[in-house]
């Protein structure tokens, strides 16, 4: 079947298999491999995209369902080759290690701060519980979010004994 949608502001019109997930559609049919598959079952959040303004797990959405919709993927976060404020904050705070969760994590943060411009640490933790990270232990990610929302102005530090 044919679907028409906007992805990162650009229009697409494509034939899709009826059982195609949005995740596979993005990665394999469109070559937008920034969105990752971590479990395929809606648990890990590696495939988080923003659909009509709300984050969803793309593995749990059929491409057929997004006919007429607007999708944002990680490829739409940086503009004109410049990292966004969130991406820069992640960079500054070393909130990226292997990077596999980063696409989904950045978009979850984007949507979080759009609906809650000054989230508390507890709200950040709850907002990001659907994005697994096995590398960072989440702390530097939380610090990046506090930074980008103007709540801290320095990096977390280690003590020297």
């Amino acid at each position: 079947m044919k679907i028409k949608l906007t992805i990162n502001g650009a229009s697409y019109e494509k034939d899709v298999a009826e059982n195609r997930t949005l995740l596979r559609f993005l990665r394999e049919d469109l070559g937008l491999t920034g969105t990752k598959e971590g479990c395929g079952a809606g648990e890990c959040g590696a495939c988080t995209v923003i659909l009509d303004g709300r984050t969803v797990n793309a593995c749990m959405v059929l491409a057929a369902e997004v006919d007429g919709a607007s999708v944002k993927t990680i490829e739409g976060e940086a503009r004109d080759g410049k990292l966004s404020d969130i991406q820069q904050a992640f960079d500054r705070h070393h909130a990226v290690q292997c990077g596999f969760c980063s696409s989904g994590m950045v978009l979850s943060v984007r949507e979080l701060i759009e609906r809650n411009p000054r989230p508390s640490v507890g709200e950040i933790k709850q907002g990001l519980e659907g994005n697994f990270c096995r590398c960072t232990g989440y702390t530097q990610i939380i610090e990046a979010v506090l930074d980008v929302t103007g709540q801290i102005d320095r990096k977390g530090e280690m003590t020297h004994a």
């Binding site: 059982n19 059929l62 979850s108 519980e129």
Partner: protein, 272 residues
Amino acid sequence: MIYNFKYLAPETRGELHAMLADRGPAAALLSGGTDLLVNIRNGVLRPEFVINVKKVKDFGGIAWSAEEGLIIRAGCTINDLLRDARVRADYPLLAACAHDLASYQIRNRATVVGNVANASPCSDMAAALLCLKARAVISSSRGEREVPFPEFFKGVKKTVIRPDEILERIIVPASSAGAPGDYRKLKRINGHDLAIVGVALLKQDGEIRMGISSAAPTPIYVGGLKTSDPADLVVAAALEAVHPISDVRCTREYREHMIQVYVRRLLEEVKA
């Protein structure tokens, strides 16, 4: 790996009912998709047709009616419910059960209707709806019928919904509005997890009503209790109504223990 199916997206109730009349047993209804697509991926369900109900006119969001109360439609997501200030104010128990359901991304897609129609014994929303005297409105080409939630669940993942029917909307009566209530659910981590055991407790007009999840093949309703009853009695009634099992998530003994703990906690913390 998604198994092959045909996708249908009716735009009116009539179309939807006709599809169900024709293909009911071979079809699965898609609202949020967060249970259905996992089940298809895992080979648990192999429907020939997947019918997306979100494009049906008047199936989205919620509505308010003076006589009926809150009407939760088939396309209303968990987050749609949580975002509504009036829902949070009038039905705090609904919000309590909704806010820790899965993860934020799942709540943006999962629907209340889907959650109860899936009829997992772990359903968080069922616990609330049982306490709130909510009714399921089930429709088909043959008309509409209402089923109070205590009669809605028949077994593990089994409800009274027939193959040609759809749980079209849920009515949460105006009479339950304003009743204080809260939900406690045992999880294995602080992060998103299904209910290992869950207790919803509501106080209204001197009555205590409870909904218990993950302690029986279906979510269980416990009524007939008064706010004047001693805690031990309420606990005993809860334990009497359930028969939890031991599985990989928890043992029967700890489930029973935590039901007690939660009932006592809620009795104290829910202020009539």
